[in-house]
């Protein structure tokens, strides 16, 4: 039992368990399917935020183009679903039945060859993860090998997001243009719009998210995780310890891209369409704020961040749409100025000490770190050397 307790404390698994409990049990029990589906949608953004924790929090690389990968993953999934929805029977009013409606509107008379693989689910699923990762590899390999970093990398990823958006919108015969790929109905004959399927998809999504968090946690705890932190601190030292720093950055960028793509695919499945408005710069930056609000060093925090910001957006845009943008602005500024470690940082600096105080009163010999801690034990210093709100010193590993 003690061994288990130690393992939980060491790996930060407690917070992951709490999160799993919240999204797999508490939400489904307390929400109707409409709200739950909304939460499911927010959780797909959480994938991007989790990827950003790895990329930005651990790797110190800020990408403003994560929407690209989220969108690509979503598009790959949407392409499969669209082909399934475009069987000759249901598209018989078109001049070329059997191809997606937007192709027909653009005088395309046969399916482009690169759409063909999306007739098969296994190929499509592979493409969901692979295509964004390959793109991420191409971008990042070229840049990191040449030591492009920091702000420049952020600006270039932004340009990439812009290029992809313009391309998708411009090539509407092949991509559905600005409307995106809409009216998706079934997955291998299974109606994804039913309430029952929405439940299933929600749980698949939640399970995938927990899986991704565990994977990332495992990576953080491996030597690679240590190296990422080391690189963020003293990149040259890592390089002159015999590591190919660029490849580690490429790895974490590709990893974040793959994770985002899974989120995108789950988004398509749960929401029923995909459009270029997720590929562009604005959604990409918004996704960064999810991670920032949750705490850029905390995987679990990123999920809460995504949930909180989106819930806030839904709530405030209903009750006070004008106020919403001000609130969003305040969120961006506040999280940077006052809480650089986001929710997780607040938890570490305020909630946790309070817990321990209560504990130590009740049970003087209580070991530290027993309440679920965000899984970022050794490194609760913010990336930048600037001042922190007090009390976030990391304990020894």
């Amino acid at each position: 039992m003690d061994a288990f307790k130690n393992w939980v404390a060491r790996t930060g698994m407690g917070s992951v368990l709490v999160l799993a409990l919240v999204i797999m049990v508490v939400f489904p029990l307390t929400m109707d399917i409409f709200r739950l589906n909304l939460v499911g949608k927010y959780l797909t953004y959480a994938f991007v935020a989790v990827g950003l924790v790895m990329l930005w929090g651990y790797g110190g690389i800020l990408s403003l183009g994560q929407g690209c990968f989220f969108g690509l993953g979503g598009y790959m999934m949407a392409m499969f679903l669209k082909l399934e929805a475009s069987d000759p029977e249901s598209t018989k009013i078109q001049s070329t039945p059997g191809i997606p409606d937007f192709m027909d509107w653009n005088q395309i008379t046969e399916l482009p060859f690169w759409w063909e693989p999306f007739n098969h689910l296994p190929l499509a699923l592979i493409a969901v993860v692979l295509v964004p990762m390959v793109l991420a590899f191409i971008i990042s390999f070229a840049m990191f090998k040449r030591r492009v970093g920091g702000v420049y990398f952020a600006i270039i990823t932004q340009a990439v997001a812009l290029i992809l958006t313009v391309l998708i919108i411009g090539q509407q015969g092949y991509t559905g243009g600005v409307n995106g790929i809409t009216d998706l109905k079934t997955l291998l004959g299974w109606d994804i719009r039913d309430d029952s399927s929405k439940y299933v998809l929600y749980f698949v999504n939640a399970a995938l998210l927990i899986g991704v968090i565990l994977l990332c946690r495992w990576i953080q705890m491996s030597k690679l995780g240590t190296l990422l932190l080391a690189m963020r601190d003293k990149e040259d030292r890592v390089r002159f310890s015999g590591y190919d720093v660029a490849m580690f950055k490429v790895f974490v960028f590709v990893l974040a891209a793959g994770i985002s793509a899974i989120g995108g695919a789950m988004f398509t499945l749960q929401v029923g369409f995909m459009s270029p408005s997720f590929v562009g710069i604005v959604p990409s930056i918004e996704m960064v704020i999810f991670a920032a609000v949750g705490g850029r060093m905390s995987l679990v925090g990123a999920v809460y961040g995504a949930l909180l910001v989106n819930a806030g957006k839904t709530y405030f845009s209903e009750s006070a749409p004008d106020l919403w943008l001000f609130l969003m602005a305040a969120l961006f500024i506040g999280v940077v100025l006052a809480f650089p470690n986001g929710l997780a940082g607040l938890y570490e600096s305020h909630v946790k000490p309070w817990f321990s105080r209560r504990k130590s009163v009740a049970k003087p010999a209580a070991s530290a770190g027993e309440p679920p801690a965000p899984p970022s034990a050794p490194t609760h210093k913010s990336a930048p050397p600037a001042a922190l709100p007090g009390g976030v010193q990391g304990q020894s590993a």
Binding site: S222, L229, D233, K234, R239, S241, G242, Y243, K381, A397
Partner: protein, 247 residues
């Protein structure tokens, strides 16, 4: 040129920044097991020379051969893997990580991406970390966060991190800068211990310290070698005196 017995053979090395020749047709040989100290006034090109050897700066011309393998075209991490370790002027350690982690990360295994993912901290690694930590006097401080160490301890830690890699050529840029007298003595002893079985290049200004450790001294000035030989010899070289006192 043909192969040599030297561990490091630098010939005709040149680098220029915007026309300014920081290193000018420099030739330098370092023996196996030798502890070489490079001295010279500020701006002589000492640090640039180390940068060139470890690949941080790319040479404009000339050759650097390490164990008869050309290094000038290699990427930094390949040079390190070939067996060259380098300590920076200001202590360059991972302040957020514990001493143990600092040393563990420097262990020369699991250096590829997948290797790092699969790397396990075995008993062998732990034993090695412990022995190096003992060597640098941090054997009791393994769990301390590196940022909390004293300045001197940080310098030692960085040397320890290099020792973890078991380099055949170790380059130290001002290892005793900012150290107390006692720490300097300890460092001198450390250097004498670690130069067994490997070559060491040290850049240093402190002449007492140099005298104490150097096998051979090279004096650099304006990107060139001004004098080379034993400490006594270079100290009495009129050119050297001129450079150090003349302006």
């Amino acid at each position: 040129m043909s192969n040599t017995d030297f561990v490091l053979a630098i010939e005709d090395l040149t680098v220029s920044f915007d026309g300014f020749k920081a290193i000018d047709a420099l030739t330098l040989y370092v023996d196996r097991g030798e502890l070489r100290v490079i001295i010279g006034p500020n701006g002589a090109g000492k640090t640039t020379l180390l940068d060139l050897i470890c690949g941080k700066t790319k040479a404009s011309g000339g050759s650097i051969k390490f164990k008869n393998v050309e290094m000038t075209k290699l990427q930094e991490h390949k040079i390190v893997r070939a067996g060259i370790g380098r300590k920076f002027q200001t202590p360059s350690i991972y302040e957020n990580l514990s001493v143990f982690k600092n040393l563990e990360v420097s262990f020369p295994r699991g250096r590829s991406v997948l290797g790092a993912l699969g790397f396990r901290c075995t008993d062998e690694v732990k034993a090695r970390v412990q022995s190096v930590a003992d060597e640098i006097g941090l054997g009791d401080a393994l769990d301390t966060e590196a940022g909390l160490l004293s300045h001197g301890q940080k310098q030692w830690l960085e040397i320890g991190m290099l020792l973890m890699q078991e380099p055949e050529l170790l380059m130290l840029d001002e290892p005793i800068a900012g150290m107390s007298v006692r720490e300097r003595e300890l460092t001198a002893e450390l250097l004498q211990r670690i130069c067994k079985g490997r070559s060491v290049i040290v850049i240093e200004h402190d002449m007492d310290f140099v005298k104490r450790i150097a096998h051979k001294v090279t004096v650099m000035h304006q990107g060139k070698i001004l004098a080379e030989g034993s400490m006594d010899k270079v100290q009495n070289d009129p050119k050297v005196i001129d450079v150090y006192l003349g302006h």
